[in-house]
């Protein structure tokens, strides 16, 4: 009996002891995520600093940044392209095309969200990398890249929405409600970032081959030139453009059509591109080509961003750039296939030749390895030409302009004669026209029309009511105004 009692007591005591032992284990309830770092142990060394910058570049392949909404507000909105695809698909883009959109439109939301997320990633680097103990040269370069990308994101945002909240570092919770500052201040902010980048980034040729695709000093200067052009600061634009031209880093690529194929990736003409690769496992690519791909036979994608009748008619006779830009029904592709658009797309269904993929990527068209060209040397030459013309130097302007046409005619002297007109007004028109046909379907047209002050007239001719004083900018997303409790104000007219 006594043994039994002892036994029982011993067992009970053991149980209690073990329980008590567990109680005192504070760390027992401390569990950390598996396979992931937390902010406490990140931004510690050179490798992590580089990874954080890489993550900003990664965001350039994001759907909201350079895919669907992007082609919507730059090409589809313009006279260069219609919505495309079948009726009913992507209805919000039809509203963009017709200028019947409101502040709830999906494209408006997508751009705002995507680009500000890019700013967030850039700010993480700009805020946290300076404190890391690492090689100073690399540190400066990394910060330069982050500032370049932040400026890129803000440049797109300011052209889309006008006034914006100015976010120069990650915000604390009590700072979440910000007002918009005037776009002039935003432009100043952009110029500061680009100037820093221009001064501290290597030139394209100074990067090792393994780093091809990173931001360069030439790219920073080119964008800075464009930024000045958009503010009608022609002299500054010209100066910067000429710096880039005389640096010898860039040259026009001889074959226009090939610029947009694999052979033309990161060519001599490339100032800045989003690098992609179509891995068989399905990573590294973007949907940029899928959304614009031929819908029907061959079935390459969704069929959006269809070149318009107006664009077809804009080309001069026998301009080889037309076939390099537009695919029509019945065209025969290099593979031998004849293009048959989805019958539901109706008549005059066309597709972007520049976004066309000759072969199916291994993991499908949704993971395309075709780079997204953001800034070509041709664009810079045209900026220089425009700036030169506006500052009263038509000869210089003509020199740059005719280099474009020379490349375009591809040694066929019977087409695309040089432009010779020197009167500022006529030369300006010629330069605008050249910009259109040279850069068609490359997501420049709408902002150009607005900048050039020609939007109202151009759209009126197409029967679209483009309202001056309102449509120069898109509306701020309604959800932002609601969430900020009215601290963010809406653009006039919306």
């Amino acid at each position: 009996m006594k043994n039994k009692i002892n036994y029982k007591i011993a067992v009970v005591a053991l149980g209690i002891l073990m329980s008590v032992g567990l109680m005192s284990c504070e760390d027992y309830l401390d569990r950390a995520p598996k396979g992931e770092l937390t902010s406490g142990n990140f931004f510690q060394d050179e490798l992590q600093a580089t990874q954080a910058v890489n993550a900003i570049y990664s965001h350039l392949r994001n759907f909201n940044v350079h895919v669907f909404s992007y082609i919507g507000i730059t090409d589809i909105a313009s006279d260069d392209a219609d919505k495309g695809s079948v009726p009913g698909d992507g209805g919000f883009l039809q509203d963009i095309n017709d200028f019947t959109f409101d502040a709830n439109n999906t494209a408006i939301n997508g751009i705002w969200t995507g680009y500000f997320q890019g700013v967030f990633r850039a700010n993480q680097v700009i805020e946290n990398v300076p404190e890391i103990d690492m090689d100073e040269e690399l540190k400066t370069r990394l910060i330069g890249e982050a500032r370049f990308l932040r400026a890129y994101f803000y440049f797109f945002l300011v052209r889309t929405y006008g006034d914006l909240p100015l976010i120069e570092r990650p915000l604390n919770p009590d700072e979440y409600k910000q007002p918009r500052v005037s776009k002039d201040l935003i432009y100043e902010f952009i110029e500061e970032d680009l100037s820093f980048a221009a001064a501290n980034l290597p030139e394209k040729s100074e990067y090792p081959a393994s780093e091809l695709g990173r931001a360069t000093s030439g790219a920073a200067k080119s964008f800075l030139a464009k930024v000045h052009l958009f503010q009608n600061e022609y002299q500054e634009a010209l100066t910067l453009a000429q710096e880039v031209i005389s640096s010898g880093e860039y040259e026009l690529y001889p074959d226009y059509e090939e610029i947009f194929r694999k052979a033309g990736e990161h060519s001599s003409e490339s100032i800045f591109e989003v690098s992609t690769v179509a891995l068989e496992a399905g990573e590294g690519g973007s949907q940029f080509n899928e959304v614009q791909g031929i819908r029907g036979n061959p079935n390459n994608g969704w069929g959006f961003n269809g070149p318009s009748d107006d664009l077809m008619a804009a080309y001069e006779e026998n301009d080889p750039r037309l076939v390099a830009t537009i695919i029509n029904e019945g065209d025969t592709l290099p593979s031998g296939e004849v293009v048959m658009p989805d019958p539901n797309m109706g008549d005059s269904a066309r597709f972007s030749r520049k976004a066309w993929l000759p072969t199916r990527p291994p993991a499908g068209f949704g993971n395309s390895g075709a780079n997204i060209r953001l800034f070509r040397y041709a664009d810079l030459l045209l900026i220089a030409a425009e700036a030169a013309n506006e500052t009263g130097n038509p000869t210089l302007a003509l020199e740059y302009l005719n280099r474009i046409r020379e490349r375009a005619r591809q040694r066929d002297e019977s087409i695309l004669p040089d432009v010779t007109v020197t009167a500022q007004g006529e030369l300006r028109t010629a330069i605008y026209q050249e910009r259109r046909v040279e850069l068609a379907m490359e997501q420049h047209r709408y902002f150009d029309l607005v900048r050039q002050g020609r939007a109202q007239a151009v759209f009126a001719a197409l029967g679209i009511a483009w309202i001056p004083g309102k449509h120069e900018v898109y509306p701020v997303p309604q959800s932002e105004i609601d969430i900020s409790g009215g601290k963010i104000n809406q653009n006039p007219g919306y």
Partner: protein, 1027 residues
């Protein structure tokens, strides 16, 4: 008497007479001890009392003896024979005999579980024989509660109990489906009709904006699902609904608790073998009404013309065409065999069962097969120490259909599945479902799981019991998918074959130590419980994929057969842990006044250091009015109890590492001439390290009653539950740049309602019948959704991901929110006079200008309905006559709506439901169905897609015959029953889809029918026998 028996010691009604001795063991494990000790005390007491006897005037003690029999004349051993007003007495032996020394004027009280108590004054007799009558009611039944069992009459909480004969009637794989329509306050929705699919369980409404699933406890092991259980193994299920019952589970109990007890062996009983088997066939209960080929051609032509294109088809070329639903559906068999053996000796008992379940799905290429083995043992090391285990091993094998249901809904009826040459037809723009069944259905999942617990009970110092329990849930699951090379059309092809292999393992370990103290004296019963428990969970998954295998034979479906250069792999893991302290006190006074208090302190690894622990108290009181003197001598009211409870419980079902500022990896960029993918990582979203428990405060008031000797019984409860600090993403402006909204504890939801249960049962000679009704109402209201949240939208539907559900303060969670249709624009006159959105033409829907501002836009959206029903109900009837039995169960909901999202999501021209035939084709042709278009104005979120989801369903009807015992005894069979059963026989509903039960989805956007696996109607025949 409240007994802290082990959970294995519950007494439940079985069809056969319980073995009296083993029953006594189960009921009164301590009694033996008490009596043993009392043996030593009785002598001195008797001697002592002799003194009194001499002092008290003229009282002498006389010997009394007798036999106790039951109503059929058989002796009853184990009956308590107590001298009224004292604690002295004895117990009848194996022959039902007892003997005592009592005072002349003493009264003997005879009590035994399941029988009416009898009192006999000595009245000068020396032999008192007694016949005890069986009780019709179940008032002294024991109910399983958290960490123990309690006498039903002592309960202060709202607990509903379902017994095994009601559980294994349905031919289903998931035992929670047996609760449908049987328990008030509980809504069970099947997630899908697919074999092996689970269910969504809601107890008393949707308590939170996050995971609202209840906690499951199986033989003491805490789990998140019970779909592994063999229904034949379940002895009873208890649903704990209010704070008094669930607070003992503290942080896990906020959404209710379902306790499952599996069948145990009995001590000192003969080995009993049971066999249960059924076989049946399933068919699709209802198809969707789609148009035929000719009508499709007509409608498709109209669609083209409506957007300015030429018609595509020559309508007269087509007849009926293909019914794609017929191509993918089939009649499928369902089979189940269960063998069990149980029994025990004086020192040990066992229950062994094996079950095989095989269900092929009514959609081709889907199947679920399961094998379960269970072994429950108890072993008495000594009078004070008992060991035991409940172990189950489960293997299942599942194949999922290849996502073919949505395509069968959309595919054009003008196409034949195959061409004359045998190849599959190009059915663009929709994938060919028949081809999908061949090429995309190679998937297989195997799961191996062990669930169980080991426990040890130690009784000491008379009233104490210490119990240590270790619970385990170990799972290993592997899946494999193989996709061959195929070409059906440019949109339906696969140029490279591939194999995908993945597996995951879970390890879930629970350790509980509890100490229990019971004391009973005079009019008081006290039970105290204290304990410490801890749980540790770990999961890890591993996957790989390779392409370009050299062949397609199944012997090559392994990673090594594929190319190295394009391989991918993945590996993730997660874990959580909990540490808790619990305490409960139960007190009963004179069987009349009941009090329960519980307190639990929980710490969870899911929360940051600041807010790791939460405290969860509860109190409850009850009053057994029936025990009052003035209610003793009447035969109308046989039971009446009032009870009320209040408590605080918590919910920790959030993600394991919520709130941590995690660095997102694999934000990779491409650099270099060689186009290398270089690793990138950064912070992409904001975090909140101050996350804490969601807390539910709930009160319940109710009463239980019984009339006419428990012929009519029922329960009525009114409850309110208010959940605060619900974790919700509070939107911050997008310009802050975070990839998601930070999660904070900000929202508040209230649920209130009434639960009603009524049962009537009676026996007239050989004919017995019973009726039961359960009904619950739920009133769900959102009280707060966090600062800055005007509304939370959910339920992405349609082409551009329109959000169809909204959650705002003052309404229920996730109501549908969109335009109200108000007819159709018939002509130009309408278009210029009625407010519109803008792009409408004649034939388009009129959306109501609800705010009367002359324009139709987002501000005119109104509430269109709610997926939460106003009333959930069930009723069942049963008849017994001379061995025949008939049972029918109905269940249903009322007042809920369903969003038919598959009708709205049209990326291109698809097939049409027959309601489209009523479309507008000219002025005056229709005022409800607009002209045919794909997308655009007529496909906004509106009541066009919201349908009434109320339904009543004949869930199960069963006719059975039990062979009479007399004839069976010759064959040594104890009982044998054969039955026919129909399940989901008829459903009365207005909803047009496959089934009105739409489960799954987040609570913020639930009730969307995107094309579910259809419900199956099953007919089966089965036998059930025991030897």
């Amino acid at each position: 008497m409240i007994s802290f028996g082990t959970l294995n010691d519950t007494i439940l009604r079985n069809k056969t007479k319980p073995n009296p001795i083993s029953q006594m063991e189960k009921l009164l494990p301590e009694k033996e001890n008490t009596w043993q000790l009392h043996k030593y005390l009785i002598l001195p007491l008797l001697l002592f009392s002799l003194l009194f006897v001499q002092e008290s005037f003229g009282q002498t003690s006389v010997p009394v003896q007798g036999t106790v029999l039951d109503s059929s004349g058989l002796p009853l051993p184990g009956v308590n024979v107590v001298i009224k007003g004292t604690a002295n007495g004895t117990v009848t032996d194996l022959d039902g005999k007892y003997s005592l020394e009592v005072a002349e004027d003493a009264v003997l009280v005879f009590t035994f579980v399941g029988f009416e108590t009898m009192e006999e004054p000595i009245g000068g007799r020396s032999t008192i024989d007694v016949t005890l009558e069986e009780e019709l009611g179940d008032l002294d039944e024991f109910v399983v509660v958290g960490y123990g069992i309690q006498r039903k009459s002592d309960l202060t909480g709202a607990i509903s109990s379902v017994k095994s004969e009601d559980i294994n009637r349905l031919p289903v794989s998931d035992v929670t489906q047996s609760l449908q329509g049987r328990v008030s306050g509980v809504q069970i929705v099947q997630n899908s009709g697919a074999p092996g699919a689970g269910s969504t369980v809601r107890i008393r409404g949707v308590g939170t904006l996050n995971n609202s699933s209840p906690l499951f406890v199986v033989d003491g092991m805490l789990l998140d699902d019970i779909d592994f259980l063999n229904p034949n193994d379940v002895e009873s299920m208890e649903v704990l609904k209010d704070a008094s019952a669930t607070a003992i589970y503290g942080s896990r109990g906020a959404n209710g608790v379902i306790i499952v007890s599996t069948k145990q062996g009995s001590f000192d009983s003969e080995t009993r073998i049971t066999v249960d088997a059924y076989t049946g066939v399933q068919q699709v209960a209802r198809k969707i009404d789609l148009v035929n080929a000719r009508d499709f051609a007509q409608l498709a032509n109209e669609l083209e013309q409506n957007v300015g294109n030429q018609p595509l088809y020559n309508v007269s070329n087509f007849g009926e065409g293909t019914d794609w639903q017929d191509e993918i559906f089939r009649n499928a068999p369902i089979n189940n065999v269960s063998l069990g053996a149980s029994g025990g000796s004086a020192k040990s008992n066992f229950n062994l069962s094996v079950n095989y379940f095989d269900q092929k799905g009514v959609v081709k290429e889907s199947e679920f097969e399961r094998l379960t083995v269970r072994l429950n043992n108890q072993y008495k090391l000594s009078e004070a120490v008992t060991f035991g285990n409940n172990l189950s091993f489960i293997y299942f094998n599942q194949q999922n259909e290849p996502g073919v249901i949505a395509n069968a809904y959309r595919a054009y009826p003008i196409f034949d599945p195959r061409q004359p040459d045998g190849s599959y037809t190009d059915t663009s723009p929709v994938g060919n479902p028949a081809a999908q069944l061949e090429y995309s259905s190679n998937n297989q999942t195997n799961s191996y799981r062990a669930v169980g617990n080991f426990f040890m009970d130690v009784k000491f110092l008379k009233n104490f019991t210490f119990r240590s329990n270790v619970g385990l849930d170990l799972t290993f699951q592997d899946s494999k998918t193989f996709t061959p090379v195929f070409f059906v059309s440019p949109t339906q092809l696969n140029p490279e074959n591939s194999v995908n292999v993945s597996n995951f393992r879970n390890r879930n370990i629970l350790w509980e130590n509890t100490l229990n103290y019971t004391k009973e004296w005079e009019n008081h019963r006290v039970n105290l419980l204290g304990g410490i428990t801890t749980q540790d969970f770990y999961t890890e998954s591993l996957g790989g994929a390779r392409r370009n295998l050299p062949g397609e034979d199944p012997s090559l479906w392994y990673l090594n057969a594929g190319e190295l250069t394009t391989q991918t792999n993945s590996n993730t893991a997660g874990d959580w842990a909990m540490l808790s302290y619990l305490f409960r006190a139960n007190y009963t006074y004179k069987n009349k006044f009941l009090f329960t208090g519980t307190f639990r302190r929980d710490g969870s690894s899911r929360f940051g250091k600041e807010n790791r622990y939460g405290n969860f108290p509860s109190v409850a009181i009850g009053y057994n009015l029936i025990e009052e003197a003035f209610l003793q001598d009447q035969s109308v009211l046989s039971n009446f109890k009032i009870r009320g409870s209040w408590g605080k419980i918590g919910n920790d079902k959030i993600s394991f590492y919520e709130g941590r500022p995690v660095v997102t990896g694999n934000e990779n960029a491409v650099f270099g001439v060689d186009e290398n993918l270089i690793y990138g990582a950064t912070l992409t979203r904001l975090a909140n390290p101050f996350i804490k428990w969601e807390e539910t405060v709930t009160s319940n008031i109710g009463f239980e009653f019984g009339f006419f000797d428990e012929k009519l019984t029922g329960e009525f409860d009114y409850y309110t539950r208010r959940t605060n600090d619900i974790l919700v993403g509070v939107p911050i402006p997008a310009y802050v740049g975070s990839a998601n909204n930070p999660i904070i504890n900000a929202a508040s939801v209230k649920n209130s309602g009434i639960d009603l249960t009524l049962n009537w049962r009676d026996q007239r000679g050989e004919f017995g019948y019973n009726f039961g009704i359960v009904a619950s109402t739920v009133n769900n209201e959102v009280l707060d959704i966090g600062d800055g949240n005007e509304a939370i939208f959910g339920g992405a539907v349609g082409i551009s991901g329109f959000l169809g559900s909204r959650t705002i303060v003052g309404q229920s969670i996730g109501h549908y929110y969109g335009y109200k249709t108000a007819g159709i624009f018939q002509n130009e006159a309408d278009l210029s006079s009625i407010p519109k959105r803008g792009p409408e033409v004649a034939g388009d829907l009129i959306y109501q200008d609800s705010n009367g501002d002359g324009v139709v836009n987002n501000n005119d959206r109104v509430i269109l309905g709610s997926p939460i029903p106003d009333l959930i109900f069930g009723f069942n009837v049963g008849f017994d006559y001379k061995g025949f039995d008939l049972r029918a169960d109905f269940n249903g909901t009322y007042g809920n709506e369903i969003y038919n999202s598959k009708k709205q999501t049209r990326f291109n021209t698809y097939n049409f439901e027959s309601t489209y035939l009523d479309r507008w084709t000219g002025a005056g042709t229709s005022n409800t169905e607009p002209r045919i278009t794909n997308g655009g104005h007529n496909y906004e979120v509106s009541d066009r897609f919201v349908e009434d989801g109320s339904f009543i369903r004949l869930r199960n009807i069963q006719v059975g015959y039990s062979f009479p015992e007399v004839s069976l005894n010759k064959l040594k069979i104890q009982n044998f029953r054969i039955y026919l059963s129909g399940t989901n026989v008829i459903t009365w509903t207005k909803y047009s889809g496959y089934t009105p039960e739409i489960g799954g989805g987040s609570v913020l956007g639930t009730g969307y029918d995107g094309g579910l696996y259809p419900l199956a109607r099953t007919f089966n025949v089965g036998i059930s026998a025991s030897f």
